[in-house]
Amino acid sequence: MPQNAVKRGDTVLEVRGITKRFPGIIANDDIDFDIKAGEIHAILGENGAGKTTLMKILFGLHQPDEGGIYVHGEKVNFRSPLDAIHLGIGMVHQNRRLIPAHTVIENIVLGHPRAGTILDLKRTGEEISELCDRYGFKVDLKAKVWQLSEGEKQVVEILKALYRGAKILILDEPTSALAPPETKKLLASIKIMTGDELAVVPFITHKLPIVLTISDRVTVLRRGKVTAHLKTADATENSLAQEMVGREVIFRLERVEVEKGKPILQVENLSGLNDKGALALRGVSFSVHEGEILGIAGVSGNGQQVLAEVLAGLRRALGGNVFLDRINITHCSALQRWLKGMGYIPSDRIDVGSIGDYSLAENVFMNYYFDDEFSKWGIVDSIKVRRLTEELISEYGVVAPGSDTTAKSLSGGNLQKLILARVLSRKPRLLIANLPTQGLDVGATEFVQNKLLEAKKERAGILLISEDLDEILSLSDRVAPIYEGEFMGIIPVEQAKREDIGAMMAGLKPQVART
């Protein structure tokens, strides 16, 4: 293969005029770019911009309708990912595809053509450590994958691709599951790894600072089209966002100062188990006041989900108490909590927050069926429900043909707007917002965040759970970093320093206890 002769700056991959249509949409419309050896070339775009389709085309999972891919100047035709792998293209998926009970070596060798019936783990191990030395990775190859941090797992995925001979690495949202310190570490090693001969193509949705720190060049996609090819040195966060969204984006949210009222939610020493029966929430105590946003910052899987579900009445508390307006609701059902003025925006908007086969009106009814105003003698007043839905659709700018559309036909952002509209229209006293902007594009994120601030202005108490530290810092009044089911402190946002919070999210207790 000609790869051996690759020098820094050589064009290794070219994409020319790629178009891919799906029924009703053009996912990729005449896309052009090229990738050079020794370069990190980020592909940036919101959800729905066509990144996933493009990625799948590059990895041979989809075939383009028009246009072509050229590897080392030769036109190629991928029928399956195997063809792509043979030509030195590797893919690191966003969702880890590793076996937790196996060692690092075993995971790396899995699926490798040489892993036939007999494994020579010793030789493989030597080859992999050679690879590690060459690209500057430090991983314990004998460790089981479940013992690794998320960042290390990412490295294993990268090693796996490299071991199969990848020279062009596609990274799908490389830092999405990482805490800030780990993100930093990973980015540094990617830079070192790239060196002279690799080409790295990270696909990134909205983490603009990462694009700016890591990449050499950026290609921005919007609605299936390339809107810009930029040298990263010439780009700023604002210019990238503008290319991505197609209009100017206000990054600073108007902070609303609301006089803090009496406590709405009081939680005492609350603990709970996760689905596997392990202690995932280890005795947290806090309160949320009227007109206050308490932000819970953490990397996913540190007990936030369990906390949200216990508070919403969807999971039994193992111990401790929850008070809503001074009434003990620890043993109340989810329905009783809705009736008492709690509102919950779940993190899983597709399987929990909505019912795909139900119409939008029926989805809105999920939070209103228990309301006597909308039914008489048990018969639903569907005209009223439809009217409410149409009001919410127009007020929240949900893009949908009407209230009869099914929820599954909405995009993520529109679905989240609908859920938000439905929950907020009940004027909850306490709102639990679990990852309210996860996976949303810049425009929808901005919208959701502003709606949360509006609710705060109307004196709701808000518990905001987020993995996005910027979001936590810009919205919350107080910040509680969570690590392995415990709060590492509760800090007023004025005193919260980014680095401190980031360190606490990774499990480091602050030197001086602050409250």
Partner: protein, 370 residues
Amino acid sequence: MKLGGYEVKLEKKLKVTGWEAAIISILAILVALALVSLIFLQAGVNPLVGYKAIFSYAFANLFGLPLTINRSVFILLCTCAFIVPMRAGLWNIGMAGQLYAGALGAFAVALAFGAKGSQGMNLAPAIVIPSMMVGAVLGGGLIGAIPGFLKGRLNTNEIVVTMMLNSIAFWLVSYMIKEGGPFMGGGGEGEGYKLPQSIYAPLILGGPFTIPIALGLAGLLHFMFARTKTGYQIKAYGLSPSAARYAGISAYNVPLLVFLIGGIVSGLAGYHYFAALPGVFKITRNYGDLGDLSFYGIICGLISQGNPLAAIPIALLFGGLTNGGRFVQGQLKIGFGIDYALLGVLMITLVAFQFFYRHSIVWHKSRRES
């Protein structure tokens, strides 16, 4: 795919209208009939003659038509008993046991009124008949509620529980009607006792009054699913249990409720067959066959996609084919169960044709690629 000068493609369909569904079902039936004609041919019978005999006996014969209708109503009730849990995403395989329990309930009430005496004894139908129906509802509802309760509280598998209850109820009936059991009839033929003439079910337009009840029930259930809060909650639970829980819909009450309704409707099927059909009025020796027949409720429920109104014509078709098929088999001297063959093929084609609920075939002249 290319066929001659045409390009043929499958496209996903988002919605299917009632008319399209009806046309697709009719096509499926025609295909099934065409396939079974091969069986007729193989048996040396002209399929046209065979079908003519089946359909004319089932739907245009003075003796055959009432039998068809009675059977179909029985199947319709079993279908409704299956559909209600189905809409909650749960499988009721226990219509047999529930209808046995319903029959036992009805005959226990009649027994309490002293009905086991002579055929000519005089009981007040206005009191006894409704009481017997209440007995059937209680019997069916009680045994039906068990899998629902266990599902909600302990998350047991409702399929296993209902199937086990089928067995229990089957042998319970056997105990009650045979060899000295409390419901044993006078003839000593292993049958239940016969109801006195005075409490025979009243006829409406020549058929037992349970026919309009069954049709009304199907309409009522349709209304429940289309318009009521209860129906909304059941459907929500069926479409997405986790979303239903999020909305505060009880994961305990929904399974209990749907199985309770299912059991009640099955119980009425038991009343309909054993206590309301002309010429029966007892728990017959071959009551197990009725249990087998109740399983057609599953197929009808699946074909009607959980719509109780759509279940009416399908139950009628199935009732007619079992009835006509069995008749023709004797008449044309076919040596095997043509009714089962026909129903079996019909089930397969109906289910296979549901593919077209979600896909449509489009074709257009293929263009030269540029």
